[in-house]
Structures are given as C-alpha cells and as structure tokens.
Amino acid sequence: MSEDVNTNQVCISIPSRMEWLSIIDKVVEGVVELLDLDEDNANAIAISVVEAGTNAIQHGNQFDESQLVEFCFSLDPDNLQVIVHDQGPGFDVEKVLSSDPTTPESLLAPRGRGIFIMRSLMDDVQFRIEEGEGCWAVLTKSRQPSE
C-alpha cells in the first residue's frame, strides 16, 4: 500500500551554502510558471524565497554546511505557500518585525532588510520557532491578481 502523497507539494533541501540558493531560484522559476502571475509578482516570490533562504543559511544554520535548509512549495487553488525550515535557534520575531530599514537613520545600515523585503512582497509571512527543532518561515502569495 502506498503512503499518502501530497501531489501539490514539492520539497527540496540544500546544505547551508549561499551558492545553492541558485538551485532554489531555479525551482521558484519553475513553480511560478505554473501560476498565472505577472512579472512583478513572479519576481516578488523569487526575491522573497531567496531572502528566506539567505536568512536560514546565515542566521539560522550560521553557515554550518552540515545543516540543511528545507524548502517546501505547496499549491492550492487560492495560494502558493512556501515553507523554509532551518535548524537554528530562531530569533526575536517581535524585535525584527518592528524594525523598519527604510527610515533615514537605517537606510544605510549594511543589514537588516531580509524579513522586511519578504513582508513587503508576499501577502503573508509567519514564523514558527520550536526549541531544538528549528525555525520555519511560512510565506504565502495569493494566486489571485492584486486589486
């Protein structure tokens, strides 16, 4: 007897090296081809998934190449959902969500833009942190055209 398979989901894991994000970018390109999105929305998904991967590698797994980052892309009639899971301890979500890198005093800061970019370009971004299990970033984009 076969196990239940989610036929609307694709998952891929990469070691914690920035170079492998090129593979993820190609996967995103394939996934967005399945959606009827304009270029801006397709770019928004690609940019956001790369950012989530960058955070997972850099801050989550802290470049430990033995730690994997898993990306799962799920399609339903209304949404594309991308879950990015790293093995790290997580972060202070409230603190990061309350920061705005576009203020005059932050504009030239060298870092601190990743989550802001994701939240600006996706319809919803949530984080789940479980001690010893890692951090999940859940990115959602509606398949319906924007108003």
């Binding site: 920035m18 030239l108 970019i117």
Partner: protein, 112 residues
C-alpha cells in the same frame, strides 16, 4: 559573482556578473573600490547588467560601497539595473540612495 574593473573617460567602471550575495563577493568589491579611490578615480560606476539577482546581503555590499566612496569624496552610480533588482530597491527605498541609469553610456555621461 565575477567582477572586473576598467577606467573609461575618467570613471572606474566596475562590471559585475552572476549573483551578488555576500561572502567573498564583499571582499572582491571592497578591494576594487579601494584601488580605484587610491589611484584611478573617485567616480565609480557599478554596472549590474549581467547580475541576475541580489539578496539582502548583496544589497549590504552595495550600501557599504556607497558609504566608502561617498566618505572618500567620490560618487558611485549604478547602470543596467534589472527589473528584479529595481523591485528590491523600491521596497527598501534604496532607489533614493543610488542614482541609476538604463545604459552605461548615460551613466558615464552623468559624471561629466
């Protein structure tokens, strides 16, 4: 990422290609900019026409370059910014920091 540097009309043109995503990319660009500021030109054009994408770490490299050049009394501009990279600039308001041009020629002329 690959980077090359040449002097064109008194402006150092830094041509980048591939993906700008931090790590060793930062050292390469910092060294090329330092060389330019110390001997060649304080006016620097970063040509992004062959850069397929930039992540937030790569943005940090561009910002650090801007700060270094500006503090050194020079000027840094960007040319051939892809739609995808421009989208990130708009979201992060970095389009207010970097002067960008559609072509390298327009950018070079702007330094005159």
């Amino acid at each position: 990422m690959k980077a090359s540097k040449r002097l064109e009309g008194g402006v150092t043109v830094l041509s980048l290609s591939g993906k700008l995503m931090g790590g060793p990319d930062a050292d390469v660009i910092r060294d090329l900019i330092k060389e330019s500021l110390e001997g060649e030109s304080k006016n620097i054009l970063v040509d992004l026409g062959d850069v397929s994408w930039v992540n937030s770490t790569g943005l940090g490299i561009l910002i650090a370059s801007h700060v270094t050049v500006t503090n050194g009394g020079g000027s840094i501009k960007l040319s051939r910014v892809s739609k995808r990279i421009h989208q990130i600039f708009m979201v992060t308001k970095l389009h207010t920091v970097f002067e960008t041009f559609e072509t390298k020629e327009e950018a070079l002329a702007s330094f005159a």
